[in-house]
């Protein structure tokens, strides 16, 4: 395999990054799962920008919400678990990027948009969602789960099995 080699410290840093993002995802999912009757409808209804129509359409369709809500909650939790454990790391980070991308598109930080919901901090186009998305991109391409994570065991198994 032609791949970059990382020093121990660099590898540790990548693993820490992966685990903290995983923690965040896992709690986002668990917190929603623990809240009886949680629904994405409120968030979706506040959508602005070019895709607002799509998101509002989802918010107003109980049947679609019935799929989107559990998908979102369990999705977040499983992505979080995957990132923490380094299990299917590439899949988890790619899925995480997609999820965050969808959130961003729902409320894109376009220049000149003023939101009724106050946000902490000051952002111009880039917000913390996008930062987290970029960090997931780093995790996706470095695949740190193969070094410190269950992927390493899976990988060895898989290879041994093939042998």
């Amino acid at each position: 395999m032609e791949q970059e080699r990382f020093s121990r410290l660099q590898m540790m840093a990548l693993v820490v990054l992966r685990v903290v993002i995983g923690w965040h995802f896992l709690y986002e999912g668990v917190a929603k799962l623990l809240k009886p009757g949680w629904s994405a409808a409120g968030f979706l209804l506040q959508s602005r920008g070019p895709f607002a129509g799509v998101f509002r359409w989802i918010a107003e369709r109980p049947d679609v919400l019935g799929v989107v809500n559990p998908l979102n909650m369990w999705g977040l939790a499983f992505i979080g678990l995957g990132l923490i454990l380094g299990c299917f790391t590439r899949l988890a980070s790619a899925a995480g990027m997609i999820v965050i991308g969808v959130y961003y598109l729902c409320n894109p930080l376009l220049v000149g948009y003023f939101y009724s919901v106050p946000m902490e901090g000051n952002y111009l186009v880039i917000n913390k969602n996008l930062v987290e998305m970029a960090a997931l991109f780093v995790i996706l391409v470095t695949n740190s789960g193969r070094h410190m994570g269950l992927d390493r065991i899976l990988h060895v198994w898989f290879q041994k099995g093939r042998r």
């Binding site: 791949q3 080699r5 896992l26 709690y27 678990l81 454990l85 193969r146 410190m148 994570g149 065991i153």
Partner: protein, 477 residues
């Protein structure tokens, strides 16, 4: 990676050939699993705190056992009597036996009819003496007559062997109030004064938990409070229910107009400062655990017709307290010409501010943490106060004046106690529980007396136009 792995293979797994994978693979592979344990631990803690908050919000569970019946008479069924009755109809274990009200053709009739609807067979009386003579198995009476009747009604009912719930103001004179305390002591019967905030779960939470236990306000230095009420026409009455003059006179009223608007007349009521202020000034004494040393006050009938509004429509008073923690100044105002900002009490200490009122709609319990105070996280975890709302960003254009000397706005927390019952229900329940021996009175005669001393002095101070002092023994009987 390849090289790294190769090194591993050579290093350790050389000894462990034959196994599916080496120890290093296993250790590295599982290296982040403990994070899940940490997550589980944190999550468990968090859920515990959230549950504690919810429980604090829900309040104590109601007792399940069916209570023994208490035979109740109602004395005075005007506006407040009606409010108390509707609250009592939600209290289990009461048997209403008699209603006494001199306005037989109107208020008495309404109360009797209401109780009939609830299947209580009650007798109506005009004269309370007759009621006491004829109704032999009464346990308790709830008195909501005009202030100047309280003393006589209460003393006679206590002497007839009844437990008494008497509306505030305990009496319009200290003499009358003192007789009530003596009668309660002599007869050994219960006397609860109707300062209902004393039993309100939010007020109890604020005093017991926020002020006494957690000390979140730090040292309280100033208090302010108010009851502002919009202009209101004098109370009228349906002409066909006018009370004959001889009956009015027999019960101390000069006219139907005075009978309806007794609270504005000297000798009958005490004006807004007594009517409204006494509720809140009672809270001052309670929360400060002290009585004032002096009071200055200004007031007058500035707006209404002084002939029909003998008591002051506008009063502003400042008490000074001398507590073991230090001096406290407490402002109170009541005016009856503009209702803005309604009513509230606001306690300000060097660490926090508590803004509270009886209302669920406005000022239903906010507490602000001053920047100098230590963090309140542990009290949030216990459910004593809610998660803070950081008070919003500076208003538009504020940058220009923003300056390091400006104080940072404090965090706003809420008192997590909402209350859905009629306001007077807990206080009445406390009274009935005390009769059954399962509670002690939240506002016994002695407490009502202290408040009466504190409040009635304001009217004196307005008249005297100078600071009046309280002597410490003035508050005890």
């Amino acid at each position: 990676m390849a090289e790294d792995d190769k090194k591993d293979q050579q290093g350790e797994s050389g000894k462990e050939t034959g196994k599916l994978m080496n120890r290093r693979d296993l250790l590295q592979g599982l290296s982040t699993v403990p994070v899940l344990g940490l997550f589980g631990y944190a999550l468990n803690k968090q859920i515990g705190y959230e549950r504690a908050q919810k429980e604090a919000l829900a309040g104590p569970a109601a007792p399940a056992a069916k209570p023994s019946e208490i035979n109740v008479a109602l004395l005075g069924q005007g506006a407040q009597g009606e409010v108390l009755l509707s609250a009592m109809l939600k209290v289990p274990g009461l048997r209403f036996r008699a209603v006494c009200d001199i306005w037989t053709e109107y208020n008495q009739k309404r109360a009797v009819n209401t109780l009939k609807k609830y299947n209580f067979d009650v007798n109506g009386y005009e004269d309370y003496q007759e009621m006491l003579a004829k109704e032999k198995d009464l346990d308790a009476v709830v008195i909501a007559t005009p202030d100047f009747w309280h003393s006589q009604h209460t003393v006679d009912c206590l002497k007839a062997g009844l437990n008494v719930y008497c509306e505030k103001e305990m009496s319009n004179t200290l003499d009358g109030a003192r007789r009530m305390v003596h009668a309660a002591r002599e007869t050994g019967k219960l006397l609860q004064i109707g300062h209902q905030r004393r039993s309100h779960p939010r007020y109890i939470h604020c005093f017991e938990k926020i002020i006494k236990e957690a000390g979140l306000l730090g040292r309280i230095v100033t208090v302010n409070g108010q009851w502002n009420r919009a202009v209101k026409p004098d109370l009228g009455w349906p002409q066909r229910y006018t009370i004959p003059e001889d009956r009015l006179e027999k019960y101390g009223f000069k006219s139907m107009e005075q009978f309806r608007n007794w609270r504005w007349y000297k000798g009958l009521g005490g004006g807004p400062i007594v009517d409204l202020g006494s509720h809140q000034i009672d809270i001052y004494n309670w929360f400060l655990q002290s009585q004032p040393k002096g009071v200055v006050a200004s007031g007058g009938t500035d707006y209404y017709d002084a002939a029909t509004h003998e008591w002051y429509d506008t009063v502003m008073a400042i008490y000074d307290y001398e507590t073991s923690a230090g001096r406290i100044r407490a402002y109170y105002q009541t005016q009856t010409t503009n209702g803005s900002q309604g009513y509230f009490e606001n306690f300000m200490g060097d660490q926090g501010t508590l803004l509270i009122s009886e209302s669920e709609a406005a000022y239903s319990g906010m507490i602000y943490r001053d920047v100098s105070a230590p963090p309140w996280d542990s009290w949030i975890q216990k459910g004593y106060v809610s998660v803070p709302r950081v008070l919003g960003p500076q208003p538009e254009g504020a940058e220009a004046v923003l300056d390091v000397r400006e104080s940072v706005s404090p965090d706003e927390h809420r008192i997590p106690i909402s209350f859905r019952d009629p306001y007077h229900k807990p206080h009445l329940e406390n009274f009935f529980r005390a009769i059954r021996g399962t509670a002690t009175l939240n506002c016994p005669a002695e407490v009502g007396y202290e408040t009466a001393v504190t409040v009635l002095k304001v009217n004196e101070a307005v008249e005297a136009n100078t600071r009046l002092t309280f002597s410490p023994d003035e508050f005890s009987v």
